[in-house]
Amino acid sequence: MTLLEVSGLYVSYGPIDAVRGASISVERGDVVAIVGPNGAGKSSILQAIQGLVRVRAGSVRWRGTDITGWAPERRARAGIAFVPESRGVFRTLSIGENLRLAGCALAADVDVSERVRLALRYFPALTDRLSERAAVLSGGERQQLAIGRALVAAPELLILDEPSLGLAPVVLDELFAGLARLRDEGWTILLVEQNVARAVKLADHLFSLRGGVIERVSDPGELLRNPSFRAKHLGLG
């Protein structure tokens, strides 16, 4: 079943088109990665899916329904969870408050504490620190909190913007191991990632975005072997 279908998406900032006619689809249970150089408009696509930037043209369909005009909170309630590049952790809130906040996307009869407990299974290190302010967290911990918080809402689609950004290599291994576990458990994930090698290993499908235009990469393995792509994206000779 097609969960998410973006077609002919245009996102503009003033006179500049950041995304020009992008189309992506995500099937339930897929892990889809968008790769591409800096400034290619990858984040804009994700923000458009979550409703955080205005779409100039094109549409976003969620389980067959056009949600292009929906407010972000309505999308969250419909089952889309978003972890932005900045992680979007509320520094003035405690870690526990951050986690429980995602309960806003859940129906009123759902036990939020139970959901938080389930999400914390993935990040046990946070369990004892729920009353601390989120501002004290390190970059890696902040990423854990952001992803954990997204999981509290039990989303049907988890969107991650540059999850590896600014993380130390050790933390990176942990992060991708965690993401692989989520994939194996059947979560649907759409992520933007600059670390193409890692993205290729994780993802079922790969899209490449250049200058606001998107292309489906039919064979990720081929991409990794392609010398010109290696040079451009991976910085490998």
Binding site: G51, G69, T92
Partner: protein
């Protein structure tokens, strides 16, 4: 390619058209009753003050609630410098001798008014321009309050809240129009200057402005000084128009009226300042007559105090909600102006093609459905 001459003409077009507009309205009023003529004179003076405020607010994109301070300084200066010697002795016995002796002609007095306002403007620049956006607006308001308290209590010079009376009130449409045209010319000259261009560019691209930091503050200061000078002039004329000057004449009411004119006309263009003045002045006068009640042909009206304010406020509110760029939407009158294309077509006040039409000046331009966050601020 256009020849240099046509392009110069094109660049001056907004000022020329504004001037013609002002002349047309003034000419019409000249044929009207005494009251109409007086209203038109007041309109011209408001025009000078509004254009003066525009020079800073319109070009820098910073809101100021303090410009009436310059008007106040100009008004009291001209009042004191042009009043008859004998009257000053009677009204203000505590005035220093040298000040009591002076009796200047109007142009000289206005020049002194402008220069004094310019000095006050320098203090303003020092105090306010270091602050950003909203804090600067509130700080300018604090200065306005503070100056008003001084004026209201400085009995020796301003006669406090009793106010100064007996200022020669001899302005007519004919003697005011040249000053108004002068203000328009100064405003145009500034916005075509390098400094004006940089300031406009920076206010339309805040990131570049931040990168240019120091330079922008200098350009803001220049705009503020010129703005203060013109407002000082306007204040001087205002005093000569009123004939009697109290602290309340140069306080919040006037501040609000100036901003009303600027916003309804279009805060980002000189044409907007002029059109706003004309539009609001005419509207306010009509409403004043309705408010006062009386016979309008077959229709008899009861006096309704508050109607004027109600309708003016509604005009402002509807402008902000429906046409956030004001009447001119940030454009200048006239033909396409080379070098202005970007700023006028892509200006932040330009309503975007969003069908919801709820796009707001300089904002993220979001409708109720696809909204983004307001700019980040300090947390609670």
């Amino acid at each position: 390619m256009k020849s240099p001459r046509t392009s110069r003409l094109a660049r001056c077009a907004p000022a020329i058209i504004c001037t013609l507009l002002v002349l047309a309205v003034s000419g019409l009023a000249e044929a009207g009753s005494q009251t109409t003529q007086r209203t038109a004179t007041q309109m011209l003076i408001m025009g000078i003050i509004t254009v003066g405020t525009y020079i800073f607010v319109g070009n820098s994109g910073m809101l100021s609630f303090g410009h009436v301070v310059f008007v106040a300084v100009g008004a009291y200066t001209t009042a004191l410098l042009t009043m008859p010697h004998s009257l000053k002795q009677a009204l203000l016995p505590a005035l220093p001798d040298w000040l009591a002796e002076i009796e200047l002609g109007l142009p000289e007095a206005l020049l002194v008014s402008g220069l004094l306002s310019l000095l006050v403007g320098a203090v303003f620049a020092l105090l306010v321009l270091r602050l950003d956006g909203m804090a600067a607006g509130i700080a300018s308001l604090a200065l306005l309050i503070s100056v008003n308290v001084v004026i209201s209590n400085w009995d020796a010079v301003t006669r406090g809240s009793q106010g100064i009376v007996g200022i020669p009130a001899d302005l007519t449409i004919g003697t005011t129009v040249p000053w108004m045209i002068g203000a328009i010319a100064v405003a145009l000259a500034y916005q075509l200057s390098r400094s004006g261009f940089r300031l406009r560019a920076s206010s339309e691209d805040p990131i570049a402005a931040a990168a240019l930091g120091v330079r922008i503050r200098r350009d803001r200061s220049i705009a503020l000084l010129i703005s203060a000078f013109v407002c000082g002039f306007g204040g001087g004329l205002y005093a000569r128009f009123l004939g009697a000057l109290t602290p309340g004449d140069v306080y919040l009411q006037l501040t609000l009226l100036t901003l009303l004119m600027l916003i309804v006309g279009g805060i980002r263009s000189l044409s907007g300042a002029v059109i706003g003045t004309l539009f609001i002045s005419v509207l306010a006068e009509l409403l004043r007559r309705v408010e006062a009640g009386g016979e309008f042909g077959p229709v008899g009206l009861q006096p309704h105090p508050g109607v004027q304010q109600l309708i003016l406020a509604l005009t402002l509110l509807l402008t902000l909600l429906l046409r956030p760029g004001g009447i001119t939407a940030g454009r200048e009158l006239g033909f396409a102006v080379p070098g202005w294309g970007r700023s006028s077509r892509r200006g932040p006040s330009e309503p975007s093609p969003d069908p919801s039409g709820l796009v707001v000046e300089g904002g993220n331009g979001l409708d109720d459905a696809g909204q983004a966050a307001p700019p980040r601020r300090d947390p609670v």
